[in-house]
């Protein structure tokens, strides 16, 4: 239990999937112009991550890992080289389903998020979490906690960025630095701030 809490807290703060591992930046930069859409997208990412990570865990451990196909009578098979393709297919499928569910139950949210939902499919953070889960040999419960924690960390980062950008509109930024440049530097300062949490012991 303590292990799960430690993984959760670490993936939200110190090992923030965006501020420490650089994943999920494309949508982060594009969507953080507006606070409401950032919040919406962030929540969608949390949702997608919490579902896709365990789904990919199951696929990896019962289909792809060396010896995984023992239940089908093929213990010698090692299909782990297919994980990239299968993970992305699973993610695309789940995102499609999330889109259909949102469309059915909340037109307003669907209109707000619109084009961003398919973006979650190619969001490196989602694929990255699944790949890290394999690399670190997590159990199923650790994977769920890691997925949710990473999603919440990403949500925190994008919402913070949106609010900072609102403040930056009143700042006098040199021309060359406007846009990408200042966004990167801001993200760097946020990353430094999040690193403060490495001093906390649980």
């Amino acid at each position: 239990m303590e292990n799960l809490i430690s993984i959760f807290v670490n993936s939200v703060f110190v090992g923030n999937i965006l501020l420490a591992y650089f994943l999920g930046m494309c949508s982060f930069l594009a969507v953080s112009k507006n606070l409401k859409t950032s919040l919406g997208l962030g929540i969608a990412v949390v949702f997608v991550l919490t579902i896709t990570s365990p789904a990919n865990w199951l696929i990896y451990h019962y289909l792809l890992a060396p010896g995984a196909l023992a239940w089908a009578g093929l213990p010698g098979m090692d299909l782990s080289f297919l994980k990239l393709i299968l993970f992305i297919a699973v993610i695309a499928g789940i995102v499609q389903m999330v889109e259909m569910v949102i469309d059915r139950y909340s037109q307003a949210l669907y209109n707000a998020l619109g084009v961003f939902l398919p973006l979650i499919t190619v969001n490196c953070a989602v694929l990255g979490v699944s790949l890290f889960m394999v690399e670190r040999s997590y159990t199923l419960s650790e994977t769920v906690v890691y997925g949710m924690g990473s999603g919440i960390g990403w949500l925190l980062a994008i919402v913070s960025m949106a609010t900072i950008k609102m403040k930056l509109r009143y700042a006098d930024i040199p021309e060359g630095l406007q846009g990408f440049g200042i966004n990167m530097i801001t993200t760097g300062l946020m990353a430094m701030a999040f690193m403060l949490f490495s001093g906390i012991t649980l």
């Binding site: 670190r136 997590y138 490495s198 001093g199 012991t201």
Partner: protein, 245 residues
């Protein structure tokens, strides 16, 4: 031909071509990948004892021949005795011995510790006095780069050389990672049992300390043999070890 049939046909052909390409690549390259993993493992065992210079590049064959000439992997039981090939013992653990000719110069333990993000894998080498550390090397971890990830760097690993796993009275205390520099954080008489910690990676240090303690505890019977006799009796036909996965 209707649109949907064309689509299905295209998709099927694409799937077949991709699968063919991928399977050929993966199976064809597997030989090289396995070889690389093996050489990497051997290199790290040699690195733990200081038989290879971490700054130098070695060819795969050089590593393999060094390993063949100097490293012997045996199985030991709970009493720390090396088993011979005819015995059929239940619980055996692998032990690596570093040999110069016939003389054992050091023994190496496989480390599998919990880390902050995932497991930490490495090797810890001890001198034949059973109390002094000869070297430490990490070959796989998932720690945060720049923070906990420093455990794979030379400066951290070099600090282990010469440290002791027993205290002044000769009792087992294991090796610990201090919070900060040993010179500042630890009492003078306890300093031989501590190595410098990594700033910003206290948790990694804590987990690794526990992991090293666990492995040293498991191999204490072997260490006791070395402390008392300065050597380990190896039977004529020693049971070759099961390397850790």
């Amino acid at each position: 031909m209707s649109d949907s049939v064309k689509t299905i046909l295209f998709a099927t052909v694409l799937c077949l071509v991709c699968s063919l390409l991928l399977t050929t690549a993966a199976t064809g390259l597997k030989v090289y990948q396995r070889e690389n993993a093996l050489v990497d493992r051997q290199k790290n065992i040699l690195k733990a004892v200081g038989a290879v210079d971490p700054a130098q590049r070695y060819s795969g064959d050089a590593i393999k021949s060094l390993y063949r000439d100097h490293i012997k992997c045996v199985s030991v039981d709970e009493k720390g005795e090396v088993l011979s090939a005819d015995t059929r013992a239940q619980q055996t653990i692998p032990l690596y011995l570093y040999l110069e000719g016939d003389q054992t110069q050091a023994y190496i333990l496989p480390v599998n510790s919990r880390g902050l993000w995932g497991r930490i894998y490495g090797y810890l080498a001890l001198e034949t006095d059973g109390s002094t550390i000869a070297g430490f090397s990490v070959y796989k971890h998932s720690e945060t780069p720049g923070l906990g990830g420093e455990i794979e760097n030379q400066w951290f690993e070099r600090n282990f050389v010469g440290k002791r796993i027993v205290d002044a009275q000769g009792d087992f205390v294991s090796i610990k990672i201090a919070k900060g520099a040993v010179a500042d954080a630890v009492r003078k008489d306890l300093q031989p049992n501590y190595v410098d910690g990594i700033s910003g990676a206290t948790m990694t240090g804590k987990f690794l300390t526990q992991g090293l303690k666990d492995v040293l505890q498991t191999y204490e019977p072997v260490s006791i043999h070395f402390r008392n006799q300065g050597m380990l009796k190896i039977p004529e036909k020693a049971l070759v070890c099961q390397p850790p996965s």
